[in-house]
């Protein structure tokens, strides 16, 4: 029961955060975690005037999903772009990655944690320089995911 509550809350929290952080009017959200699933559809309306649209014209391009996805740090530590000093980096911008492929390492408590891309596609950016400290969920690498 407690776990269920926690999961539900997480689900809700995640959706709220998500909706808050993505600019522009969202049409629908669908989120599934194990047995839990949440779907929300917003009213699509010519009556869009009724909806509070604070930043409507700020970044119109964001309405179009450009397919760029992020690989984030799973924990706090130091980011390394290569498996060892002097070695070639895991990925460079322009490289192709497959889902599950390592894109970097976060060292924490002297352990090397490989970070894998969840997406298959093209590396657009390695956002953190080698040897820099990273926070939880800090964006490490941007990948333009393949159209599915």
């Amino acid at each position: 029961m407690t776990d269920l509550v926690a999961e539900l809350r997480l689900l809700r929290e995640e959706v709220s955060s998500l909706v808050k952080t993505i600019p522009g009017p969202v049409a629908s959200v669908s989120l599934r975690v194990g047995d839990c699933a949440l779907e929300i559809a917003w009213e699509r309306s010519g009556t869009a005037a009724a909806a509070p649209r604070p930043e409507t014209r700020d970044e119109p391009d964001d309405l179009i999903d450009d397919g760029v996805r992020t690989v984030v740090a799973p924990l706090v530590g130091t980011f390394y772009v290569a498996p060892e000093p002097g070695a070639a980096p895991f990925v460079r911008p322009g490289d192709r990655v497959e889902a599950g492929q390592a894109v970097g390492i976060v060292e924490a408590m002297k352990l090397m944690n490989q970070v894998a891309s969840e997406w298959s596609g093209e590396v657009v950016e390695v956002a953190v320089a080698d040897g820099q400290p990273v926070e939880f969920e800090q964006v490490l690498v941007r990948v333009k995911a393949d159209q599915s």
Binding site: E13, L75, V76, A108, M109, P133
Partner: protein, 452 residues
């Protein structure tokens, strides 16, 4: 001297620590979970590091991310606040292993203090009064029955790894003991991962009185007067005050001596609290020692004029406190009220959400420690305390009047939000509290009337 402190906590205590660090010219690193992204201390601290998702186990209790944050940001010390990792000997040890000063007692002392039965034995050996009870833990029911027969019913069964009112059962007579023993032990195993329990005689009508101690690394131990925390609901403190009303100077002095002797007996360093029960005859018995700064530390600060967080940092830096025992003289009375976002009419169910209105009181001798400001979101993942109100006055009557005035000024509103403010007002203005006749059972007895 410590130059940069990582604050391994959240809410009001994190901001409280950051304020003193700022005043001391010490840098601060806040850590935060996703739920506390927009919290006050994150904006306030010199640096802030996102350490994990809302669930405490993956953020405020997750040592690797906290240690890494401290190391990566160049902190040389960690202040654990209260709760979370503050009394975890492993955390203190990991800090030490990574060259970080843990602002608290040494890991071995913390380990010692975590075993309530052993602490009891050490305190008794140091000459402190303890309730008649078992020597150490009681591994079998048969043994428990023997001990109980010897000390007399009712008896309390307590988890060795418990504390703060958790892991306690009372057996009124022999018939009840097996069930209470089994239940307490099972709870202790489930919650603390250690099912060991010990027995003590039950003290029915009592006051909860605790003594603030501070010990430096050179072996000096000081007591900073006592706090009375008798207004509790199911062992959750609601109102605390200093000094404890109705103690004689002799009792007060004796308490202070016990506290210092007890702290020395366990090799304590830093700020800690010795908890005692005070029975109607005025006799005290040792209950437990808390190896952390406590929620209610401000009432001691207000009557003593001493910043306890500053003293913690000094002592952790190897300095002596900024005072000597003869400087410590209480002035007037301080009262703290804990303001929680809870609905007392719905079994104190937390009512998290956005603080649409949040206007703390002001004016003379009115201190508010809070981690929130108007417009902030009270997340549902942590405790529901949204502010501490602390007032000071030359005497207790004036302090009560001031607390009531300030509570009345405190405006908190939000969709579905309820607070303990109305309940606190009816508690502190109750004649039993004014006459200081209340015991630790007062709130539970008074609640049905207060809420009807």
């Amino acid at each position: 001297m410590i130059g940069k402190v990582l604050i391994a906590n959240r809410g009001e205590i994190a901001l409280r620590i950051a304020r003193t660090c700022r005043e001391m010219g010490i840098g601060t690193v806040a850590v935060y979970s996703t739920a506390d992204r927009d919290s006050r201390v994150v904006a306030y601290a010199d640096e802030a590091v996102h350490i994990g998702p809302p669930h405490p186990r993956r953020s405020y209790l997750y040592m690797p991310n906290i240690i890494e944050a401290a190391l990566r940001r160049g902190a040389d010390a960690v202040h654990p606040g209260y709760g979370f990792l503050s009394e975890d000997p492993d955390f203190a040890e990991v800090c030490a292993e990574n060259g970080l000063v843990f602002i608290g007692p040494r890991p071995d002392v913390m380990r010692r203090l975590a075993d309530k039965a052993e602490v009891r034995a050490r305190m008794a050996a140091a000459g402190l009064p303890v309730l008649p009870g078992s020597e150490g833990s009681v591994p079998t029911l048969a043994e428990a029955e023997d001990v109980a027969a010897a000390i007399g019913y009712p008896v309390v069964v307590k988890a060795v790894a418990g504390g703060g009112g958790r892991g306690i059962g009372v057996a009124a007579d022999r018939a009840e003991l097996p069930e209470v023993y089994r239940r307490t032990s099972a709870y202790a195993r489930a919650v603390f991962g250690n099912g060991a329990v010990y027995l003590e005689r039950y003290l029915p009508v009592t006051r909860h009185v605790e003594v603030q101690v501070l010990c430096d690394q050179a072996g000096n131990a000081f007591h900073l007067g006592e706090r009375d925390c008798s207004l509790q609901r199911r062992n959750q403190k609601l109102v605390e005050e200093s000094p404890s009303p109705g103690l004689s100077e002799a009792q007060r002095r004796r308490l202070g001596e016990y506290a210092v002797a007890g702290a020395r007996a366990v090799g304590y360093t830093g700020a800690g609290t010795m908890e005692f029960l005070l029975d109607p005859a005025g006799d005290v018995t040792f209950m437990e020692m808390n190896a952390r700064i406590q929620v209610e530390h401000p009432v001691t600060e207000m009557v003593m004029g001493i910043d306890l967080i500053r003293e913690q940092i000094r002592v952790a830096s190897g300095l002596s406190p900024s005072f000597t025992q003869s400087d410590i003289r209480p002035h007037g009375t301080a009262i703290e009220c804990r303001i929680n976002a809870e609905d007392p009419r719905a079994a104190f169910r937390p009512t998290p959400g956005r603080l649409k209105v949040f206007q703390p009181p002001g004016g003379p001798w009115t201190r508010v420690d809070s981690g929130f400001a108007e417009g902030d979101e009270v997340p549902p993942y942590y405790d529901s305390m949204i502010a501490k109100l602390i007032v000071w006055a030359p005497d207790r009557d004036q302090a009560i009047a001031r607390a009531d005035r300030a509570l009345a000024e405190f405006a908190v509103e939000g969709a579905g939000m309820e607070t303990t403010i109305p309940l606190l007002r009816s508690l502190i203005t109750h004649p039993s509290f004014a006459r200081a006749e209340h015991t630790t059972r007062f709130v539970d007895e008074f609640l049905p009337t207060a809420l009807s």
